[in-house]
């Protein structure tokens, strides 16, 4: 087999791995959108916030230390202890649940029955708020997140695939972190499906997603379900934050992955969990392949916009996305 062809396959495999990470973020969007009709722009920032909080807790940072130092003229920065990754993740989850509760009580309780676009803009406001809050609490420098996930290329795969090509082919390079991420994403999706199919709360959640008023009339508490859904989205954000944070460091650009998840959603449909996964894979493979095949001809760095253009062209032909419910409008 020619080396170019094998490189092409490697690009596709890496695209699939990247797609899994996009799908992880997109999942959080779908969960909230299905249950409450809110298009949560803040999902990416939630991932950033979760990752920042996790690092902060593990390192034993004092929250708001810069602010405290500026106001009181003190010099606090660390508590001086280190928390292990598992406890750190649990504590971060507690913070995310508290955040979900606060978001529901402070913001969206007051915006029930508003137009979707108003809710969307409220989540943009929330995104800004959280971004500033995360930086205020934990500082804005780039942080390293190490929760014990193996990193770097897998030598085993490289060695065992090197025979496929000629002398200039050294085997497929696949990051172990990406493989772990793919595995985690798979487990996460299975767990979410099991949760929504086989538990009482999951059934209630699906009922709310189906029809708010009918759910309310059979005694399901909308407030509780919405807090639950925001907590779940916070959990997904935490997982995505850990994966992306381990991959490229915890920094501001992490919140931009939300923007990458948007075309994934448009492609897959806003209301479909399988759609988020398939959309993520298509976008991941598509942008890597486009950059590999067409990118050199038109100057490279096409990954910035290719996903959007793909989604845009796709939407013109199928406005509700691949797996979305048909949009029916009545006057």
């Amino acid at each position: 087999m020619s080396a170019d062809f094998l490189f092409g396959i490697e690009v596709i495999i890496n695209g699939l791995m990247a797609g899994v990470l996009y799908a992880l973020v997109a999942l959080g969007f779908v969960l909230i959108y299905k249950a409450s009709g809110i298009f949560n722009y803040a999902q990416g920032v939630m991932a950033l916030f979760a990752a920042l909080t996790l690092v902060g807790i593990m390192e034993g940072q004092v929250p708001f230390s810069h602010l405290i130092n500026a106001i009181f003229g003190t010099e606090v920065h660390h508590f001086g202890w280190h928390v292990n990754a598992f406890v750190g993740i649990i504590l971060t989850m507690v913070v995310m649940v508290a955040l979900a509760w606060a978001v529901q009580v402070v913001i969206f309780k007051h915006l029930v029955n508003q137009e979707p676009i108003i809710l969307f803009m409220a989540t943009i406001g929330l995104a800004y708020f959280l971004e500033g809050m995360g930086d205020l609490m934990w500082g804005s420098e780039i942080k390293k997140l190490d929760v014990g996930i193996p990193q770097g290329g897998s030598f085993w795969i490289e060695e065992n695939t090197a025979f496929l090509g000629g002398d200039d082919f050294f085997g497929f390079f696949i990051d172990r972190l990406d493989m772990v991420a793919a595995g985690v994403a798979l487990i996460l999706v299975l767990a979410l499906v099991a949760f929504s199919q086989y538990t009482k709360q999951g059934r209630a959640m699906r009922a709310v997603a189906d029809d708010h008023q009918a759910a309310l009339s059979v005694g399901i508490s909308l407030n509780f379900i919405w807090v639950l859904v925001w907590s779940l989205a916070g959990f997904v954000a935490l997982v995505a934050g850990v994966m992306w944070g381990a991959k490229s460091g915890v920094q501001f650009s992490l919140s931009l992955i939300a923007l990458k998840a948007l075309p994934v959603l448009m492609l897959g449909g806003f209301t479909s969990i399988p759609g988020a996964i398939v959309g993520g894979l298509i976008i991941g493979v598509g942008e890597k392949l486009f950059e590999f095949l067409i990118g050199p001809m038109i100057g490279g760095a096409t990954e910035n916009w290719f996903a959007y253009m793909l989604a845009l062209v796709f939407l013109v032909f199928r406005p509700q996305g691949m797996f979305g419910e048909k949009i029916i409008e009545r006057v």
Binding site: I117, G125, Y128, Y308, M309, V331
Partner: protein, 358 residues
């Protein structure tokens, strides 16, 4: 007390449908215009021009443009930064290709070019709606910025990839380039702002504006009563693009002087202008001004108080600004979805009755 309508008789339809039907309102408006044209240019200095007045005026144009699209026609756009870049690069190419033509004409033509580009990106709006469309406009944002960064024809093959505004004169007075006087920058922006606001106000209260609002309130219903969605939506995109293009051209040529697509017209600019119209008031020309003033003044104020007054770190002040802006967006959406413009209207209603509320 202030808003006396007694004695203010309307004797023709023209009187009845004028923009400011109350005499006091009208005179106050003339007074503001007079102060803006006759007093401020003589007292303005470099700091006030660069930190407050010029950005305020330019953002006001952009906010009017976005307000036409989002506030009046209901099509949310997150591509404002990219469209402003389009105006800026169009203006740059025109300024360098035709150095003898007056810059005011260049700015207007850049508006026209941007209008064409925005209309192109508005085409999907006929098929997709709501946030699908909002996300689709992100495609425009990222694609345009990438285009201006990668295709060197747009920046005349300069090594730095930047565009720099050459010196240009209007009636013998320098308006672009590093040696421009503060008052000249201010005045050229003011002229465009007054022109744009006048145009926008009259468009939005005419039949075009009513069609936009019908589409915004419910597009299917509007279609049934005979509003053509194709021409209405695309005209909103085109006119919005015209204003945004003008503001982009001025932002580059008059305010920045040199620009680089990714830095000056990134996604944050799109959100900034969107926040201006949310805080100022969706569907209101006055709201565009109020929002632009608010978003320009807030960082200046925070910087002066926190960094200058309390001696805090600039980064800390910037983070706090994020928190405050985000909080305010949510606050306004909850308490007053129509923004500052609505508050202003309520104040006026109160003042009409004051001091005898019954």
């Amino acid at each position: 007390m202030f808003y006396r309508e007694a004695g203010d008789f309307k004797v023709s339809y023209k009187d009845d449908s004028q923009t400011f039907p109350i005499a006091f309102d009208r005179f106050r408006y003339y007074a503001v215009i007079a102060v803006a044209f006759l007093i401020i240019p003589f007292v303005i200095n470099d700091y006030w021009a660069n930190a407050v007045f010029v950005p305020f005026l330019i953002y006001a144009i952009a906010a009017i443009g976005l307000n036409i699209l989002t506030g009046y026609c209901g099509q949310v756009s997150l591509g404002t930064g990219g469209f402003m870049a389009c105006g800026a690069y169009a203006c740059y190419k025109l300024m360098t290709a035709f150095p003898d033509v007056n810059i005011m004409i260049h700015v207007l033509i850049s508006g026209g070019i941007t209008a064409a580009v925005v209309t192109l990106f508005g085409l999907p709006s006929l098929r997709i709606k709501g946030f699908y469309l909002a996300v689709a406009t992100l495609a425009a944002q990222f694609f345009l910025i990438w285009l201006f960064n990668k295709v060197s024809w747009f920046y005349n093959y300069s090594a730095s990839g930047q565009i720099n505004a050459p010196d240009r004169f209007v009636a013998g007075v320098q308006v672009t380039g590093p040696e421009t006087e503060a008052w000249a920058k201010y005045l050229i922006c003011l002229v465009f702002v007054v022109g744009c606001a006048w145009l926008a106000r009259n468009l939005t209260r005419g039949s075009v504006g009513r069609k936009w609002m019908a589409i915004r309130d419910m597009d299917i219903a509007a279609e049934i009563i005979g509003v053509n969605p194709l021409t209405t939506k695309l005209s909103a995109f085109a006119i919005s693009g015209f204003f945004v293009g003008i503001s982009g051209a001025l932002f580059f040529a008059v305010y920045l002087g040199s620009a680089e697509a990714g830095d000056s017209f990134g996604i944050t600019k799109s959100f900034l202008v969107l926040f201006m119209i949310i805080i100022g008031g969706l569907g209101s020309i006055f709201g565009s001004f109020a929002g632009a003033a608010f978003m320009v003044l807030l960082p200046v104020l925070l910087k002066n108080v926190l960094v200058g007054g309390l001696g805090w770190d600039t980064a800390l002040a910037a983070h706090l600004e994020f928190v405050i802006v985000g909080g305010l967006i949510v606050f306004f959406l909850i308490v007053e979805p129509h923004g500052l413009a609505r508050l202003w209207l309520l104040t006026k209603e109160k003042l009409r009755l004051w001091p005898f509320p019954h």
